[in-house]
Each structure stands twice: as structure tokens, then as C-alpha cells.
Symmetry: C2
Subunit: 144 residues, 2 copies
DNA sequence: AGATATTAGTTGATTTTGTAACTAACAAGC
DNA sequence: GCTTGTTAGTTACAAAATCAACTAATATCT
């Protein structure tokens, strides 16, 4: 067996992960794209800010492992939608402290609720034990 | 708990899936991108052809759930790299039968070996039972 | 202090993707 | 036979991602 038995693409973990990721992302996009015209990176930046309060762009890059140009553009877009505001730090004027506006917080709350509901819907497909294993496996892979 | 407890992005399944998928894809890209200058869709198309012999573009779209424009471009790219050839079917001149060239088959064999090795490396991170659960969960999610 | 190196963040050019309109070949209805 | 409809695949244009070069502010080294 094995060495020259052509394996199924579905058995190839990177492929399986991609298909699963795409399926769930597509579904959840409807919430933030349809309702707020947001892009995925925007949603992520919004999320980090909503979750952790004030952050600099750099910190968002690190926490989310997102490239700085993506963050830069997402921040600009969110600012234009009046969902966040920037303040240059007086101590070091290279840093910009980002913070959600009242409006941004409301959007965050709304999207969080949707996210939680969607996550629950997904999780409902599995037994408690499967969920534990799945999440453990995913975080271990992501940490590679 | 719950309704307004801000959940961690890492616990959000679509996010966790994306991070894991990106981590593994990035790693495997090096093989086909670095060595053969191929894009992901090209590798997938190559794979389907290597795996199943001759197929039309349509069949590849269906098997891989890839949009036809992506397949069309990947086919053009692979053709230019002399990794596949097309033959118009005389019965119905709308169909083009795609087939790997000798060169294409060699690349397929090589990439399959790499893919299998990489998959094994990933799988090695988990117990047999975890692997089963993981794959089962992923395919169930992808089927949504 | 003044030259050099780093760091935060932005901008621009190129590449890739996604969406929609298009061509060519065939099928069906009348 | 000719209009209408479908199907396979391509192409054109817009949206987005990637990569490299850039600006501005601070830190470091001598």
C-alpha cells in the first residue's frame, strides 16, 4: 500500500482544512458583509478592539497574525465608517492608539452575538468530545 | 455567563479553521510554488488530473468545487508550463479533454510524495483517534 | 550633537481573485 | 430551417491580497 497509492485530495489535511474554513467563512461573511459592508480583516480588527479595548495597529498585527498593510487598510476603512477613532500617543508619536467609537462598540456587540450564535450552530453538529478534540487539533496546527 | 461574556476569537470556529488552514497551506505552498512556480489552483487541477486521468474542465470544477474561471486560468497556466495538454472532443466540440503530459505526470508524482510526507508529518502530531475525529469533523463542516 | 539604525504605519505597483458579460457549439421547439 | 435555450469555456473589468518601497518618529552609537 501507500507509496504509490494515489491518495484522495480530501484526505490531505491542508485541503480538508481549507474546504472547511472556506465553508464557514463564507457563511459568516453574510453577517458582517451584508449588514455592515465590512471585509474580513475589518471584522477581525474590530473584534480585537472590541475584545481588548485600546490597541495599536502593531498589537493587532501580533495578536491576529495579520500583516501590517492589511491592518492599515482595515483601520482606514473602519475609521471612515466611524467605527473607530485614532489618537496619536504623545509619548511616542509613531504609535496610534485605536479605539472603537460608540457606534463601533454597538456593531461589535451585534457581531459578537451573531458569531456566538453561528459558532453554537456549528458546534451543535458535534458531540462535546468531538468539539474538544477539534478545537485542540486546530489550535495545535495553527501553532505550527 | 455567556451572552455578554466576550469570547476569544480563537474559540470562534471559523477563525480557528482559517488559522489552521493558512498555517498548513503556507507550509505546503513552498513545495509547489518554490519548485514549480505553481499556484494553489494549479496544484489542485494537476492533482485531479493526475488522480483521475483525463477530465474536462467542468468535471474538475465539480470534483473540486472550484469556480470555472479559476480552473480555466489554471489550465491555461499548466498548459503553458507544458504540464497538460488539451484535446477537443470531436463528438462535442465544446468539451476539452485535459490530460497530463509526461512532464506533468512526473510533477504530479513528485508533489504527491511531498503531500503525503507533509500529511504524515501533520498527522504525527495527533493520536490515531484524534486524527479520525479531526477528519470527520472537517468533512462534515465542509459539507455544510 | 550628528550619522545610522529601528520602528510604526502608509502608499504604490503587481498579482490574484471574483463577478459578470461574452463567444462558440450544440439541443429543442416550432 | 430558424429562433430560443443551454452548456463549456474564455475574457474583461472590478475588488482584494501581496510585496516592496516609502515617510516620519524615535532610539542608538560614537
Amino acid at each position: 500500500m501507500s507509496d504509490n497509492s494515489p491518495f484522495d485530495l480530501r484526505d490531505f489535511l491542508p485541503y480538508a482544512l481549507n474546504q472547511a474554513a472556506e465553508a464557514t467563512s463564507r457563511a459568516f461573511q453574510q453577517y458582517y458583509k451584508g449588514k455592515y459592508g465590512m471585509l474580513r480583516t475589518e471584522w477581525r480588527v474590530l473584534f480585537h478592539l472590541g475584545r481588548h479595548g485600546s490597541l495599536t495597529a502593531k498589537e493587532i498585527c501580533e495578536r491576529g497574525s495579520i500583516h501590517k498593510t492589511k491592518v492599515s487598510r482595515a483601520v482606514a476603512a473602519l475609521e471612515q465608517k466611524r467605527l473607530l477613532s485614532r489618537k496619536t500617543l504623545p509619548d511616542d508619536r509613531r504609535h496610534e492608539i485605536l479605539q472603537l467609537t460608540k457606534n463601533g462598540s454597538a456593531v461589535f456587540t451585534d457581531l459578537c452575538a451573531s458569531a456566538r450564535a453561528y459558532d453554537a450552530e456549528l458546534a451543535g453538529q458535534f458531540t462535546a468530545e468531538e468539539q474538544v478534540v477539534l478545537r485542540r487539533c486546530l489550535s495545535r496546527i495553527a501553532a505550527l
